[in-house]
Amino acid sequence: MSAANLALLSTDALTRLFEALCIEQYDALERNEIAAFNRRYDRIQAIQDELKSRPGDQRRALMRLFGHSNMQVRLTAARANLAVDYPAARRELQAIVDEKWHPQAGDAGMTLYFLDTGESKPT
């Protein structure tokens, strides 16, 4: 879906699309389908860009996906909010680490590590 088409969708609809794509990413990882995961990454990024451009930075809407039953949804929503609400996003990332449900727990741990070393900065 193009950026222009994403702009036509409500924040709620974008959140649902984000959720669905993250679940597809989870399944792709479980099947070792790396290319399928990466294709969805770009689509998810486009949704985040659209939400960010809306008044008040609507990436905040993705925070309602914190605690989701799918770990990839939680991880992606948490990282999307690092620049919006850093303490809350960090707490969610740490909660994912503590769950030890891999690979998302490992990925969340690496994200925190690179944030702490200053090599990664939320945007």
Binding site: S69, R79, K100, W101, G106, T111, F114
Partner: protein, 247 residues
Amino acid sequence: MLPKHSLTLAARPRPLSARALACHIAGERMMAAFARLQAFAEKAGFNPDQPRVPPGNSDGGQWTGSDGSASGRQPGIGDNGGPKLDPEEPPKQPPKEKTSRIKAAKALAKRIAQQLLRRAGPIGALITAIELAENYSQMPSVTSYQDSPKTLSELQQNAGKRRPGYEDHHIVEQGAGISEGFSRSQVGGTDNVVSVPTYKHHEISGWYNTKNPTFGGLTPREYLRGKSWEEQVRVGHFAMRKFGVLK
């Protein structure tokens, strides 16, 4: 002199108290396993108080409903229409397609790992493994996924042994390392190759090769391109720690 067993708990020799504690822990684990077995039985509809057909009948001893009809299943978790409390159960029969089979086996490996963490302890996890995993050809990988983190030397010692359920992992990635000008002896050296559980290897390799917002949308492999050997080793060790492979 008083016999040993008449001593107060505080006055008993230390090894005895430690053994008592170990017994207590083992007992607790066994009770948790029983609770889990009971849950399995209830889920299957088993009720020891359910009426049976009286002896003397051709079907004497068999379960029957309270009204004499064939009985229904007992209500269980989820029957009240509430949300599911747990992730989906992995299928008990392995799917035919290879990627689905691996996916199902990974789900099983994770479920067992979660049980080890928070539920019935090792005995409960073992029961689940025996019940569910005997049909899976992926069983060695499901089992190795439960390994606790090891030291670097332990992981290095087993490299190259081709053990079922394990794969060799290059800390500085093989292809990337050589294309960046690191020597083959360095990339294939004993310091750089470790033996890790197969599914953990998938997870770590997956992390290296998937796009990641932490690196501005690059994959970690792309992010590390051009970095020094030491830097790549540092990240490699850290990834193994975060994915539960390295102590």
